[in-house]
Symmetry: C2
Amino acid sequence: MRAKAKPVPEKVTGFFEYPRPSVAVDLVVFTIIDADLKVLLIRRGEAPFKGSWALPGGFLRVGMTPKEQGEDVDTAAARELSEETGLPEGSVFFEQLYTFGAADRDPRGRVVTVAYYALVRPTLAPLVKAGGDAAHAQWVSTQELKRLTLAFDHAEILETALTRIQGKIDYSNIAFELVPDSFSIPELRAVHEVIKGQSYDRGNFRRRFNRMLTDGIIEPAPGKRITASKPAKVYRFRGTRR
Amino acid sequence: MRAKAKPVPEKVTGFFEYPRPSVAVDLVVFTIIDADLKVLLIRRGEAPFKGSWALPGGFLRVGMTPKEQGEDVDTAAARELSEETGLPEGSVFFEQLYTFGAADRDPRGRVVTVAYYALVRPTLAPLVKAGGDAAHAQWVSTQELKRLTLAFDHAEILETALTRIQGKIDYSNIAFELVPDSFSIPELRAVHEVIKGQSYDRGNFRRRFNRMLTDGIIEPAPGKRITASKPAKVYRFRGTRR
DNA sequence: CCAAAAGTGTTAACAGTACACCCATGG
DNA sequence: CCATGGGTGTACTGTTAACACTTTTGG
């Protein structure tokens, strides 16, 4: 059912003649501060939804000519992520989440948004508000978030992101994106607990961890964690450090 | 060369003034015929990639006014799916896959495509070519597909879809979308084997299946399968029959 | 030495794997 | 009655889960 509908000029299907939607990129940026899962939100300064919280994001930059067609959607996400957090590109893990395309999701006009989620290491999280464009961005706890009303369909996007990371933490390495470069087993366990909203048995978690050790996914790191009690050994993740 | 964007009424952020990409929907439609996983492909009739195989798809219909903003992206996928297969809407399972947004993925201009995958019951598969617009659509085996060159980035999209269903079949119910309404255990096992490209032990697969029985996910159905040997009992999936 | 949190050990239930064997049917 | 493929049983192994116990630190 391509361009059958329309009379077609030579060679080109003619799809340029149809109205096109705007394409946006929205970001669900997570971090963990004080053993609490937080999301980066901005306060909207303009209508619609003026004054309410929203996910950071922006529009895809599109070129005018076939030669210069603008940026990749992934590139746009990386750019926005860097702009909104003030952190250098490449320092934060991110991944495409889902595309939201309800016709009426933006009252201003037709906007299809490609949502991404990102995980900021707690080491970097405090630096975020220093960024230029990010002056209005804030870390909001996912706890108090239930009481807030978000702009557009951003509540749904956020819910999708939460579900995604809750699912992926069990079979992927995303948990390592939420701890410092070297970390103790209890620290990693705390990350799992915060994200899943449940507690894990110390011993059993440790055994799972040990399998990763023998599999070479993680390795011992120098140093210890100074706590109020017995100090914990620290480890390092031996994986793709983008 | 393309329609300059529209002037914008007051109050609006002005994103309408920027050039916008076209948004397409592409479909990876799977079925199983003769114990072989097949994908629905079309032969392109126009440049670019004239004559080569491509995924079915089409452009998102976008309205011109804030009141009439066109169809949801999901709706567009459902519509395309119905048009390309000739099957009624709602008869085929489909789900969003991933959004492909490389700037140069279409030489004609900027096109961001939201890819979906769909699973057609083998009962319906033979009816597909009867559909009006689908006269040029064909089921192609995923085996011989490796030897073909697909248009645009469709090879990558297809690969992503394959990986997705191979992953999901283990923890979801998508396998039931590739068998008739009533099916035997060996038939279901064949689906798993075709998709994963490996064989499963009869007895062990049966045990897994039995757990679903006691969990009430499936239930016995009337009838038997007539084979060249001992007839198999048939079952029914008690789930969302979209 | 005592509280607190790291780290170890033990056991039972369950799920995955491999494989041997029985059963119903068509030819 | 035999080949074929459905259906069952069993023994081994690894994983999960619950929980008790030991060790090392700071105060």
